[in-house]
Symmetry: C2
Subunit: 218 residues, 2 copies
Amino acid sequence: MRDLEPKTVQQRSDARRAQILAAATGCFREHGFHGASIAKISQASGMSPGHIYHYFENKEAIIEAIVAQDLERMLTLNSELRSASDVKGALIERTAEGVQGKLDPQAAGLQLEIIAEAARNPRVAGIVEAADRNCRASLAETIRNLRRAAGFEDTETSIAGMVEVLAAMFEGLQFRTIRNPDIDKDVVIDMFRRVIHNLLSQPPGEAAMSPTPGPKAR
Amino acid sequence: MRDLEPKTVQQRSDARRAQILAAATGCFREHGFHGASIAKISQASGMSPGHIYHYFENKEAIIEAIVAQDLERMLTLNSELRSASDVKGALIERTAEGVQGKLDPQAAGLQLEIIAEAARNPRVAGIVEAADRNCRASLAETIRNLRRAAGFEDTETSIAGMVEVLAAMFEGLQFRTIRNPDIDKDVVIDMFRRVIHNLLSQPPGEAAMSPTPGPKAR
DNA sequence: CCGACAAGATTGAGCGATCATTCTAGTTTG
DNA sequence: CAAACTAGAATGATCGCTCAATCTTGTCGG
């Protein structure tokens, strides 16, 4: 059928969807994906349970939409960093807000929920892995340029390793903020800056340091 | 062949409890804390649903027992490290198995589940936080001795920062192994060794590097 | 050595609540 | 007035959990 008032209808529908997603995000944060019921979500979004099924096929579709929405937000943040003029400066400077963001217990709770769900739900895992591939590629490109500008010649493997370490550090903070709510943000930011600086200024390594003198790992 | 039958009532009861916990661990890994039903757990443990309530007051008690069991295992691993003669060597050497362990998707899945539950369940949060305080204290003591032996004088704040960074790195790997199942373990181990070495050999810093005044990368 | 018996151990049907989802009937809108 | 929209009751499944009944085990009077 034709769109006689495409703007209005589309906008209304989009607004409803967003309304549901916002309410669902809160419920999922509070009770987890499986602990949050459609009844609770409908109550939080101020509409009837049946109505939610007008906009989402089922509960899993809501979960997937939230996961996709959250990861897309991450991707845009990522591309912002890439477009900075002084990339290394931006990286160091952004460390503070990156750490702050990951240490927010609310955000961390939802992230934990998403990754835990990805660990057992193949569809969610697919979404998460695709977004992560994208992020890794972007960060790898950033680091590659940075290192080349500093006169280093790295293998792709080595750059991938740096990407993983950086990612692990920041994502690990979301673990930390749950395990230790009294964490001292400032000293963590300071330590992160040093570690990141050292990591990115490190000469490309052969075998690096091996614990016991011997052949390096495969 | 037949198992040796436990003699005392206590042993039989303990065996039953362990049996339930083992089955529940598998179910929780597969479906999450809220997705795994008592019916599934009873089926996996080969006993009736009603019987489970002979050994655990309710479902949450099972969750708490698993959390406590898992964290206690971590604490013993931790104390093992402390008792090594060459602590720094042990730290670097143990990096490999530490990374390997955190990259196991099965173990990571359960960890994620536990922390996600801790983010919304105060009782579980209490268990997790207590265990983490213990771990942090142990690791801080190790690092303090290490740095003192190397002639550095650090503040307690600074040492706490190092502990948090180390913890975040390793725990972050449990995120990474879900987000990127094809992660290259060897290069990550190598990068971890360098980062840890640098972190522990770093001179104690005042303001370290500030973001805005532009010191060039040397 | 035996058979009665107390004391757990164990079962599984069943309870009310709640789950995700569907249906119907009423309202709004163009 | 027809079509889109909406609310909330209805549905059947499943949830955590209870409990009366049954089975196992070990003890002890005879």
